[in-house]
Structures are given as structure tokens and as C-alpha cells.
């Protein structure tokens, strides 16, 4: 084998390992996703239903399982309700205290989903802010939302 070819091969191996090493180092730094302006931390101060790494990895499975339980079997008493996630993680507009839709850019869902380039179909149907008909809504109450968010949309008092 010529020495030039040998050098090329060595160079390739070195560069390849460097790239692989950098990338694998990056994947363990998924932690970085959680530090965007605190948008992932819930405002209510409650603990998430699962540890952070588990919920990041498994939240889709939990949601998919729960939706069948709720729709097909009518089970509503659960830790894994989508409404509970929204209730806890929705952030409020500082100016007026209005809840910001949870799938808006920079908000709870988008902060990971934009990075991962995974589409979000949930909110085509599901509400993006808590509405007052959710059985337990301490987060919204503490932020002084007057009445039903939907009533506000309509401009009427509820």
C-alpha cells in the first residue's frame, strides 16, 4: 500500500472517530434542552408525574395509552391526563396574565419538539390552555384569571 493511501486512511479514521466522539458527547447533553428560559418547568411548583428523563422518553407512550383508557373505557382519574400536563406547564403572559398556548413557539411543547423536528398533532383537537371546566386548576386560579377563558374569548362574563 502506498504511503499516501495509508495517510489518507489514517486521517479518515481519526476524523471519523472525532466526529463520532463529538456526536455521542452531544447526545448525553440532552440536559441542555431543559434550560430554555425555564419554559419546561411547571409554574405550579408541583412535581411532574414521572422523573424528567423518563417523561421525556416515555411521554408519548403514556399519552397514547391514556387516550385509549379515557375514550374507550371512560377512565378519567389518572395522573397521565393531557389536561394536567397543560395545566401545570402553561405559562402566562406577563402583561395581562393571559395563558399562552402551550404549543406556541418557545413554550413547553415546542421547546423540545422544534429541536427534535417531531410534529405535534395533539392540539388540532385538544385545548392549548386550561379552561375552567378542568376539575382541578390551581395554577390558573393563582394567576388571577377571571372566569372562563372561553367566555373571555367570546367577550362575555361567565
Amino acid at each position: 500500500m502506498t504511503s499516501a493511501k495509508r495517510i489518507d486512511q489514517t486521517l479518515f479514521v481519526v476524523l471519523f472517530s472525532a466526529v463520532v466522539g463529538v456526536l455521542s458527547g452531544c447526545s448525553s447533553g440532552v440536559e441542555g434542552l431543559g434550560n430554555r428560559e425555564g419554559s419546561l418547568a411547571g409554574e405550579s411548583g408541583r412535581q411532574c408525574v414521572k422523573p424528567r428523563d423518563e417523561i421525556r422518553r416515555d411521554h408519548m407512550e403514556l399519552i397514547k395509552h391514556q387516550r385509549d383508557e379515557t375514550v374507550r373505557k371512560g377512565i378519567r382519574a389518572s395522573d397521565h391526563k393531557l389536561a394536567s400536563c397543560i395545566e401545570c406547564h402553561v405559562r402566562h403572559d406577563d402583561d395581562e396574565g393571559q395563558p399562552v398556548p402551550v404549543n406556541a413557539p418557545g413554550q413547553f411543547c415546542a421547546s423540545c419538539h422544534q429541536y427534535a423536528a417531531v410534529g405535534l398533532a395533539c392540539f388540532q383537537c385538544h385545548a392549548t390552555v386550561p379552561t375552567d371546566d378542568v376539575p382541578h386548576a390551581p395554577a390558573t386560579a393563582s394567576h388571577g384569571l377571571q372566569g372562563d377563558v372561553i367566555a373571555q374569548e367570546k367577550g362575555t362574563e361567565q
Partner: protein, 263 residues
């Protein structure tokens, strides 16, 4: 007929095995039976156990009590399920918006051509025991729950609208436009089919009335009675027993959960 059936060998029954199985079943039944009783749904509490066929939700509508011009039930249904939050998209004609607007409950005016008698009745999903919409659904999104409610699982619905064609009561609606504001209790979105679900979000959270029933009672007509058809003491069962009533399109033999009186 198959002649081999004459040659079936009859095994000697093992009586000791039989008694063991009987004892095992008896013991487990004794252990489980108290639990079965305890898991009855407490009032006002979100359901924690799967629905069973113990309850069959149904309704009786009395057309005699239904006031012709009143739309309280329709308005209540629209409010409860977020239908009143839908607005005409820009550039769409009024006519098209009205035609395509979903309606889970609507008032139907009937006139007897011979006598001229007019009556009005609310028409909604009949929650049939043998629903044609369930038969035709290609994905299984349209399904009948154990407690008798027929509804669409929008996670599985592909919007083919076969169920809309199959329904004899025109109960199903298709969502043509993006839903921008939706209540948490009633998720609904573009591209799926929907219909009355007997306010399932209320029932699963421990309530026992529907929005239409409440509105009709509040307006003083009390034409709609909703409840458990399997419970002979429930108001709806009593009403069905007391008054002559019938299914609309009884010839289809669907055994509907909604019965009409005075029609």
C-alpha cells in the same frame, strides 16, 4: 350431515377435577365479589374503573312537551361542546358556513299532511344498540362503548365520512375547518367526524345529566329525560314505562337508546 358426529368419544368425567375447579372458582368469586361492589362510581368523582354494561344510558324525548320554537337543548349542546365557538372563515359564504356547521343536536319539524298537526322534536344521535355507523367504520373509530354510548374516537378517525352516510338519523357531522378555540372537556378538530356523545365528559366525571336535559328542565319544558335504561327505578325508565313511546325508524331494528313519545 357429517357422519363423524356419530362417532364422538365421550370421555369419562373426572369428578375430582371438577370439584377442584368448582372450589377454585367459588373461592375467587368470594374474594372478588366485595371488590366488585366497592368499585361502583362515586357521585361527582372521575371514573377510575373501566365502564361496564351494567349501565345503559338512554333518553326519552316527549314531543308533546317540546315547544316548537324553543332551541334550548340545541343551544346548550352547542355551548357545552364548543360548537358555538366556531366562526365563519374569511371568504366563505354564509350559506356554506351554515350548511357545513356541525350540529350534534337539531330540531326537526314534523307536519302531518292529513291533519295539519305540527310537532317539533330534537333529533340527536340515537345511540343504537346495533349502530350502522359502527358497522361501516373502516378504522374502528366509531364504536359503541360498554355503557351504550356510541361515539367517535377522534384519534382513529380518518374523516372518510362513511358513518355519516350510514346513519339513518343524519346524526354525524364533519368538521371542515380548523377549530381554533376548544374547551378542555370536549376536544374536537378538523378532519374528524363527531356526534352527540351523551355528554360523556360529564358522565365519566360522575355527573348523571346531559346539557340538553338540564337546559330543557331549566326552561320548564322537561321534554328530555336522560338516565340509566337498565335501572327500572330511574326517571327515564319510569317515563318509558308510563308513556307510549317509540323509536324513530323502528323498522331498522337498531334498538335505539333514544325513544320518542308523542310522535
Amino acid at each position: 350431515m357429517n357422519k363423524r358426529s356419530d362417532q364422538i368419544q365421550i370421555e369419562q368425567v373426572d369428578s375430582s377435577r371438577r370439584s377442584f375447579i368448582g372450589a377454585a372458582v367459588g373461592t375467587s368469586a368470594a374474594v372478588l365479589a366485595p371488590g366488585v361492589v366497592i368499585h361502583a362510581l362515586a357521585d361527582g368523582q372521575p371514573r377510575a374503573e373501566a365502564v361496564t354494561a351494567k349501565v345503559r344510558w338512554g333518553m326519552m324525548v316527549d314531543a308533546n312537551k317540546c315547544a316548537g320554537d324553543c332551541t334550548a337543548c340545541v343551544d346548550a349542546c352547542d355551548t357545552e361542546n364548543g360548537i358555538d365557538l366556531m366562526h365563519k372563515p374569511e371568504g366563505q359564504s354564509d350559506e356554506k358556513f351554515v350548511q357545513q356547521k356541525p350540529s350534534w343536536m337539531r330540531k326537526v319539524k314534523l307536519k302531518d299532511n292529513l291533519t295539519g298537526r305540527q310537532s317539533s322534536l330534537p333529533m340527536l344521535c340515537q345511540h343504537c344498540e346495533y349502530p350502522p355507523c359502527v358497522d361501516v367504520c373502516p378504522t374502528g373509530a366509531s364504536f359503541r362503548r360498554a355503557d351504550g354510548i356510541v361515539l367517535v374516537d377522534r384519534h382513529d378517525c380518518i374523516g372518510c365520512r362513511y358513518c355519516m352516510m350510514a346513519c339513518p338519523y343524519h346524526a354525524r357531522s364533519f368538521l371542515h375547518d380548523t377549530v381554533t378555540v376548544k374547551p378542555t372537556r370536549a376536544p374536537r378538530g378538523k378532519g374528524c367526524v363527531e356526534s352527540c356523545n351523551f355528554c360523556v365528559h360529564r358522565l365519566d366525571n360522575g355527573e348523571t345529566t346531559t346539557a340538553c336535559q338540564d337546559a330543557c328542565a331549566k326552561d320548564g319544558h322537561k321534554a328530555i329525560v336522560f338516565g340509566d335504561l337498565n335501572d327500572p327505578q330511574s326517571p327515564v325508565s319510569q317515563a318509558l314505562k308510563d308513556q307510549p313511546n317509540r323509536q324513530i325508524r323502528a323498522d331498522l331494528q337498531l334498538n335505539t337508546g333514544v325513544r320518542y313519545s308523542g310522535v
